[in-house]
């Protein structure tokens, strides 16, 4: 009982440690201190999710049954890693430039962002991986019971608690916590990767410790160990050549196609150069993992009573030798293997399920991104979390239904064979331009059907009736699942792998050859295959009609406002435009789509942009670029293109400047007539009334007072106008002296609200933002003047039936942002560029002022080192005041 309790305590401590490690890594990454998180060593160690509990415990069992055959499972990945220059480098480059989020995303993006293919791959992955997850649950349960049997009272405890259920719940919790923290645009999970790296070290140390104990502690050195190996029942080379080659190939294929491997290899990759380190470090890791497997198996066969489970030798050998501490370490190693596999597999599968099944359905139900609920991000994250729960629940259910028997042990290779069906579509996709969607679909379906029929169903006893196995369906002999086309006597696994993969490839190539791809497919194909030659964008959108503002609203719901505003601003700057709204050029749209696909997958992002843009189109130039390959042509056209791009940019800037000049000239005329009008009106009445006072006789005293006060009021109006003009000219000439003081931002805002007379006005003011308490060193009166003006503007122009103004304060990248957002109709796009000009008034209604307020405010903000701008896409008129951090720091 005591050991089992200690074991549970150790186990819980270990889990707590993992939580702490993941938490710290996340924090470090958030604070930008995470440079060490991006080291190639962490990357290499994270690849070790390949070594699951099936390899940790199972390899020894495998060796005890069939000698050295187990190494094939590690040889394949070693070959792939060493040959990174062939396939992995290309996959990683594609994954990074195209923002690929999963293996399903890779295949669907390559074949024209096909939703159908993505669903197929997702289903195949779920069917293939679920049993594998239940295998991990089983291995943890089994290792617990290995301890329990050596411990009186432990068995009772084991029976009263459902270990697998607790493990599944714990893992789901961990994965949800660290796997869906953020909807990062590039889908990296520092916390998870760090935890996986720690687990990689633990499992390697555990296996090596047991190995060292067995070789030097039990056998007495290397020489005696070798003699003992040769004397054992697995002492001679008895390898079936076909299985040797076949299994090596299968493991190499699975290494590339398993969703969890794709996740750590491609999606979590920080830097292409990490591959260079992993190319030798990961094969070394695998070599060390498999080094002591045979010694442990041989000693286990010697020491343990006949009939004991060789899959548990890693645990039971130290236990029978009285090495409880070592057994505990070994248990932790197995536990690490199981948990890391389940965590990464659950993240990979949930990304696929949510991006390719849940999100498309959701988008269809809500009729798209633009009209849906306010924040699609919550939906995506919720979908991920539910999918993780679903995947683990499926794994647990499978474990319960299959009874956790020995049938599960075979699932490792069966699962490999299932996922290997993706290999033709994947490799064909990145190396062969001629591969088409139809071909990939046909190959996948054929491979999947054959795999199910020849391997999956026969493997699990009652899947097929015995008569079908022996005589074939309806007595057709050549359709027997384990002897297709009459070829008998082949190892069932090899038979299934050979037929499914070769027919898969054959159909893939054949259908690709005879079908014709859509333009988008051809474009994507060229992108993927020639990824090193040109890493440009697939220009699939035709801009012009689209509203950038709609795109911005949609993108904000998925990526969050801060990221999207920064992205739109930089895109606008790239086009040579100021403000937040770039022109919807094909370049910009392609980049936007790629940003989105980082969050929701390629096919969904494409569909979302399509909803706003109308149908996607491929321009003639794009097709020419794909079709025409001659070098001179390319060079010539690219030079032309560079020139014409340059010209387009200049023209765009010129056009903007010209528009502005025209408007300014109109404005200047308006200004002159305005100023003469503004000056003239009060002048006229002053003149008229003063003439009355001078000439008329016998005026009543109250008339006298009335006329005098009219003259007085008009004089005040004149003074105010002249004050404003003077203020503006002082500010513009930079002659203003600032009265710098310390003060709290919230006080300035409160003062502005009071001074604007908000108590009397129907406009409701709402203040949000925890950053309000910041201390500032600036000219507080001038800042308050800006705020008062913005509030007064909202009071004047907000036309909502229940007007409301939100003042939101945030801190971002060293700046303090104060947003004033009302719920009125906002400012029409054509006026947005002009509102900060002098005497500009949107309409002539409610001519409350001379149109100088915003011009003065902008000048003031310039003097204070900040900016004032219009923020589009917020559902009303929105102004952003931004102050630099230096003024805040000065106060601290």
């Amino acid at each position: 009982m005591a050991t089992l309790n200690i074991l549970i305590a150790v186990c819980l401590t270990y889990v707590a440690l993992l939580f702490a490690v993941a938490f710290m890594a996340e924090r470090a990454a958030l604070q930008g201190r995470g440079n060490w998180l991006r080291s190639p060593w962490i990357y290499t160690l994270s690849l070790s999710v390949y070594c699951t509990a099936w390899t940790f415990y199972g390899a020894v069992g495998y060796a005890a049954r069939s000698g050295l055959e187990y190494v094939t499972i590690y040889l394949g990945p070693s070959l792939v890693m060493v040959g990174w220059w062939w396939a992995l480098r290309k996959m990683v480059r594609i994954g990074r430039t195209q923002r690929i989020t999963s293996v399903a995303d890779l295949i669907s993006s390559r074949y024209g962002k096909s939703g159908l293919l993505a669903v197929c791959v997702t289903l195949l992955a779920v069917i293939g991986i679920t049993p594998y997850i239940s295998l991990q649950l089983q291995s943890v349960t089994l290792s617990f019971s290995s301890f329990a049997t050596s411990d009186p009272g432990g068995i009772a405890l084991m029976e009263s608690h459902d270990t697998a259920l607790w493990v599944a719940i714990g893992l789901a919790l961990f994965t949800i916590l660290f796997g869906t923290r953020n909807l990062d645009a590039n889908e990296r999970h520092h916390g998870v990767v760090m935890a996986i790296a720690v687990e990689a070290v633990v499992k390697l140390c555990a296996l090596i410790a047991v190995g060292v104990f067995v070789v030097w502690g039990v056998a007495g050195g290397i020489g005696p160990m070798m003699e003992r190996i040769d004397a054992s029942e697995i002492g001679t080379w008895q390898m079936d050549g076909g299985r040797w080659v076949g299994l090596t190939f299968l493991s190499a294929a699975a290494f590339l196609t398993l969703p969890r491997m794709f996740q750590v290899l491609v999606v979590e990759n920080e830097d292409e150069r990490h591959l260079r380190t992993a190319a030798w470090a990961f094969p070394t890791y695998l070599m060390l993992m498999s080094l002591f497997v045979v010694p442990i198996a041989v000693v286990g066969l010697d020491l343990m009573p006949a009939g004991s489970n060789p899959d548990q030798f890693v645990l039971t050998v130290p236990l029978t030798q009285g090495q409880e501490g070592l057994a505990m370490l070994s248990f932790l190693g197995g536990f690490s293997s199981a948990t890391s596999m389940v965590i990464v597999a659950a993240i990979a599968l949930s990304t696929m399920v949510s991006n390719h099944i849940v999100m498309p359905i959701f988008l269809r139900l809500t009729q798209g991104g633009a009209g849906g609920p306010s924040d699609v991000r919550h939906v995506v994250i919720m979908a991920r979390r539910l999918s993780i729960g679903l995947v683990l629940a499926l794994g647990y259910l499978y474990y319960k239904i299959s009874g956790g028997g020995t049938a599960l042990a075979a699932i490792g290779l069966v699962s490999f064979a299932g996922l290997a069906q993706l290999l033709p579509a994947m490799m064909g996709g990145i190396f062969w331009r001629g591969a088409t969607r139809n071909g990939a679909f046909a190959g996948l379906v054929v491979g999947f059907v054959l795999w199910t029929y020849c391997l999956l169903l026969p493997q699990f006893g009652n899947g097929l009736p015995p008569s079908v196995l022996e005589q074939g369906p309806w007595g057709i002999g050549w359709l027997r699942p384990q002897a297709l086309f009459g070829i008998e006597g082949v190892d069932p696994l090899l038979h299934a792998v050979m037929w499914s993969l070769s027919l898969n490839t054959a159909f893939f190539i054949l259908v690709s050859l005879v079908s014709f791809p859509s333009p988008l497919e051809r474009l994507q194909g060229a992108q993927f295959v020639n990824i090193f030659e040109r890493s440009g964008n697939p220009q699939s959108w035709k801009g012009g009609i689209a509203q950038s503002e709609d795109l911005m609203i949609m993108a904000q719901r998925i990526l969050g406002p801060a990221e999207v505003q920064a992205f739109f601003q930089s895109e606008a700057a790239r086009q040579g435009l100021a403000g937040f709204l770039p022109e919807p050029s094909p370049d910009f749209l392609a980049r936007l789509e790629r940003e989105l696909s980082g969050a929701v997958g390629g096919a969904t992002a494409h569909a979302m942009v399509a909803q706003i843009m109308g149908a996607a189109s491929v321009s003639v130039e794009d097709l020419l670029a794909v079709a025409d390959e001659t070098a001179q042509m390319m060079e010539y056209s690219s030079q032309l293109e560079a020139k014409s791009n340059e010209l387009t940019r200049t023209a765009r800037q010129l056009r903007a400047a010209n528009d502005k000049l025209t408007q300014l000239s109109v404005q200047k005329d308006a200004f002159l007539s305005q100023i003469s009008h503004e000056l003239r009106t009060p002048m006229t009445s002053i003149r008229a009334f003063s003439e009355i006072l001078r000439d008329a006789e016998g005026l009543k005293p109250e008339d006298l007072t009335r006329y005098a006060s009219i003259i007085h009021a008009e004089a005040i109006r004149l003074t105010r106008l002249l004050d404003d003009l003077l203020d503006l000219s002082v500010l513009e000439n930079g002659q203003v002296s600032l009265n710098l003081r310390d003060g709290r931002l919230s006080d300035v805002i409160a003062h502005a609200i009071a001074a604007a007379g908000s108590d009397m006005h129907p406009l409701r003011v709402r203040r949000v933002g925890p950053a309000e308490g910041i201390f500032l060193t600036t000219d507080l009166d001038r800042l308050a003047q800006v705020f008062i003006n913005l509030i007064a503007n909202a009071q004047k122009y907000c036309d909502a039936p229940r007007p409301e103004l939100t003042i939101a304060v945030t801190r971002r990248e060293g700046r303090i942002l104060v947003d004033f957002i009302d719920n009125g109709a906002g400012i029409p796009p054509e006026s947005q560029g002009m509102i900060f000009e002098k005497f500009y008034r949107i309409s002539d209604r409610q001519a409350g002022g001379a149109g100088l307020g915003l011009a003065i405010c902008r000048e003031i903000m310039d003097r204070l080192g900040g900016t004032l701008g219009y923020l589009p896409g917020q559902g009303g008129a929105a102004f952003r005041v931004s102050l630099p951090v230096a003024q805040r720091m000065a106060a601290q």
């Binding site: 060493v82 040769d230 080379w237």
Partner: protein
């Protein structure tokens, strides 16, 4: 798109250093082929005592099989390590052109 497509036609001769880099890439490409060939050698070993007798050779013991397979593995890791030290890849330049 502009800057990646302005590549000149591939030059015929390269500097000594770039030439060395290209050959290292070739080596990196060939390494898995070498590994696969070496690991295919076990297929030639006799599988049973009868086969061994017919070929006039002794059966291969597990210990020597282990030495061979893990020896190849270590060799492979060492070569890959040396290659990774000498090869410098720049992630954003097209490297697949020219000789």
């Amino acid at each position: 798109m502009t800057d990646t497509m302005t590549d000149k036609a591939s030059p015929l001769f390269l500097e000594r250093r770039s030439y060395r880099q290209r050959r290292l890439m070739d080596a990196a490409r060939l390494l898995p082929v070498l590994a696969a060939l070496l690991w295919l050698v076990p297929l030639l070993w006799p599988r049973s005592a009868a086969q061994a007798e017919a070929a006039g050779a002794a059966t291969v013991t597990s210990s020597s099989a282990i030495l061979y397979i893990f020896g190849v593995w270590t060799l492979l890791a060492v070569i890959a390590f040396v290659l990774s030290l000498t090869m410098d890849i720049k992630p954003d330049t097209p490297t697949d052109r020219g000789l």
